[in-house]
Symmetry: C2
Subunit: 601 residues, 2 copies
C-alpha cells in the first residue's frame, strides 16, 4: 500500500528547496545527495515493513494499565530497535553524540515517510529526541553523559510532563512542587495527565522531563522550572526495587492514536520522588518552549502524514472500485466505471492532493528555515530565520492539523460505506488525525499566539520578511504567462491580508483584547491558506520551468503537469476562501464577547 | 446531562411552525397541544432514562456475530419495549393500526429528543416503521394483517436490504435474483451488505425488505422489484427449525454507531430462501424511494441530534471548566475563569448553536410540508408541498449530515484533550456522526440529485415555490428595522443563487453533464446555507415580535435575545460563505473532468 510519493519528496527536497546546498555549510558537510537518499531509503523500509505492517493491529490491541504497568504493542519494540539501530533516532544529533548532523529538512522527510506508515509509533522516538535535545541544550556535562547516549540508542525512553488536571492550555497554573534537598536534588510532588508514552515496557528506564514550581517560586509562568525525573532511580538507595517514586495512576482511552498510551502520572505519592534540575531555576517554560516549536511543526507534519496515507488509500480505492456510469454515458448497458472518473470523486481526491502536497511544502519550508538558522553566520541572517520560524510555526502546525482533518475525512468519504468500517484504514486515520488540532496547543491557542504575539513581534519584522519571501516567488512566477492569473490572485490576497491585519491592529490599539482576538482563528485560517498558496505558486513555477527543459521523461511530464493543475485547483477552491475570511474579519459585529446577559444558552 | 432544549422545541413547534393548526384537519383532529406535549414528555423520559443511560456502554460492548447469530445490547431490548409500549413506535400510523395519527412534525420532535439520548437505538424502531409504511402503502390486505401489527408492537424487527457488494450508490446494478415459484412466492438468491439491524435477538422475527431482480427482468433501475423476506418462515414447512434461508455471513465493525449491527447477509445460500413480492413487479425502486425520502430527512435529523447532544455537553463543560484568565484581565494573580468567557470558545459554542437550531428549524419545516401534503385538499396544494419536499429533502439530509459533523467536532474541540478521551461522550459522538454524510446516499449523490433533477423538475416549480416561501419571511422581517441588514444579505444571496443556477443550467444546455455536475456539492452547500439563513431570519423575527409583546418573562427574554444574536452570528459567519461558493461555481476552470492524461497521481 502506497502512503506517500517518493517522487514528490525528491521534488520538494531537491527541486524546490535545494536541500543539497545545505551541504556546503560545515555543519552538514559530511552529507551529499547520496547520503540523503540512503537515509530516505532506510526510512522507507522501516515505514513499510515495521510501521505500516503494525498500523491496524496496534490500534485494535491498545495498551492497558495492569498492576501499575503498561505493556505496549510488540510492533513498538521492533520499531524502536530498527529506528535506533539504523541511525535514524540520533540522525540530527552532533557527531560527538553518535549522530549524523542530518539537516532538519531531510529529517522531516524521514519523519514524514515514517508517519505515513504509522503516526503514533514515532511519538516514542520523537520524545526521546526531544528529551535529548533539552538535555543537550540545558544540561550539565554530567547530565548529558548520563542521559543522552541511553536515550539516543533507544535503550531509554522519554516523556514531556506539562499538563496537569487543572492546567492544560494555561501552563502558568502548574502546581507540581519541587522541594530542594540537601544533596542538590529535588523532591517532586504532583500529578500530570495526558503523558504520552508515560509508561511502556520497551525501555529499561523512562526519563520524564517535568515542569514544576520550586517551593517559594513566584506565581505564573516565571516561577516554573524543569526537572529530570527518571522512572528508575539513577543510584541506590532510592525507593524499592530500583524504582523512583513515579506512579502510573491511570491510562486514558483515546479516540485514536491508541498505540501510544497516554498516562496519568503521580510524582511523589510516597514523597520519595527524586528530580534533578535541568538548566536554570524558574526558566523551565522558555527552555521547554525551545523544543515545543519543533514539536508543533511535528504535529502539523503528523496531520499531513496521516492525510497523505489517506490520500493514497482513497486514490487506490478510486482506481479499483467501479460504481455507476460516467455522467456523460449514463446507460445501464455500459460497464460500470471506476469511481475515479466521477467529477465529485475527483474533486475529493484533488482536495486531498492539494492539501497534502501544499502543506508538506510549507512545513518542509519551515524546517529549511530551521537549518538555515542553524548555519547562519551573520546576526542579520539569524534574526531573519528566527523571525520567519517564530511567525510560521503556529501556522504550519495549525494548517497541518486542521486541513489534515478535513483531508482525511475526504478520503474516508471517497470510500463511502466501506470507509466507515474497520475493513479499511480510513476510519482509523480519521480517529488518529483528530487529535492534531489539540496537541501542543489547540488551534485557538495557536491563533492567539499568531495574532497576539507573532504578528507584532519585533515591530512586525517576521511579517515583513515573509512578504519578501512570497514576493520573490510571485516575481519569479510572472515569467510564465500561464501564471499571471495566479500571481494576481495571490497579490490581491496579500493586499487583503494587509488590510485585515491593519484593521485588527487598529482594534488592538483601542485596548480591548477580547474584541481584537475574537476572530483570531479565522485570521489563522486566512494566513494558513496564503502560505500554502505561496508554496503552490512556487511548486507550480518550478514544475513549469522543468517542463520547458529538454528531455523530460513521460513520467516526469505527468508529474509536473499534475503539479500545475493541482496548483490551479488550490487557487480555485482554497485561495478563494480568503475573501470570505476577510469579510468576516472586517465585519465589526463582534458577537462572541461576554455581554451583560448570557446569550449562549 | 442536558442533550436538547425543551424550550426550543416548543418555540419551533408552536411559535414558528404553528403545529397546533394541523389539528384542524380531520386526519389530526384527535390531537391538541396537550396530547403533543404529553407525547414529547414520554419521549423525554425514554431518551433520558433508557437511551442516554446506555449510550456509552452500548458503544463499548458492540454486538458480535457468534455461531451465526447476533445479540444486541441489553439497552436495545429495554428501549424497544418502552418505545412500543408507550405508543411512540406506532404514533404516526392510522388509528386502525393502533396508531395515533400523530403529525410527522411532532413525531420529528419525538425522534430528535430520542436521538439526542442515543442516535443508533432508534434505527431499530425506524426500520420497523419504514417496513410497516412500505407494507401499508403497497402490500395486499393479507400482507398488512400479517406484518404490520407485529412490526408496530416491537415484536418483530425490520430491515431494508438495498446495498450489495458491487452495488452501493449505483442501485441499478443490483443482482440479487428472485425466481417465481408455482405457489406465487419467489426464491431469493443473492448477498446484501451494510444491513443495519440485519440480525438481532430482541425480536421473534425479522422482516427483510429486499430489492431483487425477477428472472428475466430488464437491466437497470426498471427491472428491480421489492420482496418481503422474513428471517423465520411464516408457515411450515420452510427450512429447518422454522428458519427461512437467510444467513448472517459477516458483521461489519464500524467507526461508530456500534450499538446497531451492520450485517452481511446471504439470501438463499441453500436455495431455500422464500420471498413475497411487495407491490408491483419491477416497481421496487420507486416504491422504496417513497420511504427513502423520509429516511433521508431522518439522517439529517440524526446528524443534528448528535450535534445537539454535543453542543449541550460542550456548553456544560465550558461553564464548569476553568482555565486561564480573560484576555482583558491577564494576570496570574486572578482566579482562572470559566472557558465560556474566552471569545474563541464562545465562537465554537455559537457555531454549534447556530447550526443545531438552524438546521433543526429547517428539518422540522420539511416535516411540516410532509404533514401539509398529507392533508392537502387541492391538487395545487398537493403539487406545491410535493415539489417543496422533493427539492428540500436532499438538502436537509446533507446539511444535517455535513454540518452535524462540523458542529460535533467543534464540540469536541471545546473540551481540548479531554474531548479526545473516552471519559467524555464527545469522541463517541464524533465517531457516530461521521456516517451521516454516507447513509442513504452520500453527499455527492444527494448533490447530483439536487442539481441534476430537483432544480429542473417540473420546469423549476420547486425552486419557484421555495423562493416565494423565503420571500414571505423576508417581507415579514422588514417590519423590524433591526433586521434590515439581514434581509438585504439574504436577498443578495438569493440573487447570487439565481445567477449561479442560471449559469449552471446554461452549461447543462451545452450537453456536458460532467462539467455541469463538477461542483454540484458546492451548489448543495450554497443552497443548504440559504435554507438555514431563511430559517434563522424566520426564527429571529418571531423572537423579535415576541420581545415586543407585554409580559415577557425574564427566561423568555433571554431565550428570544439569544435567538436574535445567534441569527446575527449565522449571518456573519455562515451566510457570508455563499460568496466564496458563488465565486467557485461561476469560475469556468473545470479541473475535475477526466483529461487525456491522468493528473490525479
Amino acid at each position: 500500500m502506497k502512503t506517500f510519493s517518493c517522487r514528490n519528496i525528491q521534488f520538494l527536497l531537491y527541486e524546490v528547496l535545494n536541500a543539497e546546498s545545505l551541504t556546503q555549510f560545515e555543519n552538514f558537510n559530511a552529507h551529499d545527495r547520496e547520503t540523503f537518499d540512503m537515509t530516505l531509503d532506510t526510512a522507507t523500509e522501516i515505514s513499510e515493513k515495521i510501521m505500516l505492517a503494525n498500523y491496524m493491529d496496534s490500534d485494535r490491541k491498545q495498551p492497558e494499565l495492569e498492576n501499575g504497568h503498561v505493556k505496549v504493542h510488540e510492533g513498538v519494540h521492533a520499531f524502536i530497535k530498527a529506528y535506533a539501530e539504523s541511525g535514524l533516532l540520533a540522525a540530527t544529533f552532533p557527531l560527538e553524540w553518535e549522530g549524523q548532523q542530518l539537516p532538519k529538512t531531510v529529517n522531516a522527510a524521514v519523519e514524514y515517510i515514517c508517519m505515513c506508515g504509522h503516526n503514533s509509533f514515532i511519538m516514542f522516538t520523537d520524545l526521546a529526541v526531544g528529551c535529548s535535545n533539552l538535555i543537550l541544550n540545558f544540561g550539565t556535562d554530567e547530565q548529558k553523559r548520563q542521559f543522552i547516549p541511553h536515550l539516543l540508542s533507544g535503550k531509554w525512553g522519554g516523556t514531556m510532563c506539562l499538563t496537569e488536571p487543572q492546567a492544560g492550555s494555561s501552563l502558568s497554573d502548574i502546581s507540581t512542587m519541587a522541594t530542594p534537598q540537601a544533596d542538590g536534588t529535588y523532591k517532586i510532588n504532583g500529578q500530570k495527565i495526558f503523558i504520552s508514552a508515560g509508561d511502556q515496557d520497551y525501555a529499561e528506564n523512562i526519563i520524564h522531563l517535568v515542569l514544576a514550581r520550586i517551593k517559594g517560586a513566584p506565581k505564573g509562568t516565571k516561577g516554573i522550572s524543569l526537572f529530570i525525573v527518571p522512572k528508575m532511580a539513577l543510584a541506590p538507595p532510592l525507593g524499592a526495587g530500583g524504582l523512583n517514586d513515579v506512579a502510573s495512576i491511570g491510562i486514558f482511552h483515546k479516540m485514536g492514536q491508541k498505540a501510544t498510551p497516554a498516562l496519568h502520572l503521580g510524582f511523589g505519592e510516597n514523597n520519595e520522588c527524586v528530580g534533578y534540575l535541568l538548566g536554570e531555576a524558574h526558566k523551565g517554560l522558555p527552555q521547554m518552549f525551545q523544543i515545543m516549536n519543533g514539536a508543533r511543526l511535528g504535529v502539523g507534519l503528523t496531520g499531513i502524514s496521516i492525510a497523505s496515507a489517506a490520500y493514497y488509500a482513497s486514490l487506490q480505492y478510486a482506481h479499483e472500485r467501479t460504481q455507476g456510469r460516467r455522467l456523460n454515458a449514463k446507460n445501464a448497458q455500459n460497464e460500470p466505471t471506476a469511481i475515479l472518473n466521477h467529477p465529485d470523486v475527483r474533486r475529493m481526491l484533488l482536495t486531498q492532493k492539494a492539501v497534502v502536497e501544499g502543506a508538506l511544502a510549507f512545513i518542509f519550508q519551515c524546517y529549511d528555515y530551521m537549518d538555515l538558522l542553524k548555519v547562519s553566520e551573520t546576526i542579520e541572517d539569524k534574526t531573519k530565520y528566527d523571525a520567519l520560524l517564530e511567525l510560521l510555526t503556529p501556522v504550519a502546525k495549525t494548517y497541518g492539523a486542521e486541513m489534515g482533518i478535513v483531508s482525511v475525512n475526504q478520503g474516508l468519504q471517497v470510500l463511502g460505506g466501506y470507509g466507515y468500517t474497520e475493513d479499511f484504514p480510513l476510519e482509523q486515520m480519521a480517529r488518529d488525525v483528530r487529535i492534531m488540532s489539540i496537541y501542543e496547543g489547540t488551534t485557538g491557542i495557536q491563533s492567539q499566539a499568531l495574532l497576539g504575539r507573532q504578528v507584532t513581534r519585533n515591530n512586525g519584522l517576521g511579517l515583513k520578511l515573509w512578504r519578501e519571501e512570497v514576493q520573490k516567488e510571485v516575481t519569479e512566477a510572472t515569467n510564465y504567462e500561464l501564471f499571471t492569473p495566479y500571481c494576481n490572485a495571490l497579490t490581491n490576497a496579500l493586499q487583503r491580508f494587509e488590510v485585515v491585519t491593519n484593521h485588527l491592529l487598529g482594534i488592538a490599539g483601542q485596548g480591548d483584547a477580547e474584541v481584537f482576538m475574537a476572530d483570531a482563528t479565522l485570521y489563522m485560517e486566512f494566513f494558513g491558506i496564503l502560505n500554502v498558496a505561496w508554496q503552490w505558486l512556487r511548486m507550480g513555477q518550478v514544475a513549469q520551468k522543468a517542463l520547458l527543459t529538454q528531455n523530460v521523461s513521460e513520467d516526469d511530464r505527468v508529474f509536473y503537469e499534475s503539479k500545475i493543475q493541482t496548483m490551479q485547483f488550490f487557487y480555485k477552491y482554497e485561495l478563494s476562501k480568503i475573501h470570505y475570511l476577510a469579510d468576516c474579519l472586517l465585519n465589526t459585529e463582534v458577537l462572541t464577547v461576554v455581554g451583560e446577559r448570557e446569550i449562549i444558552i
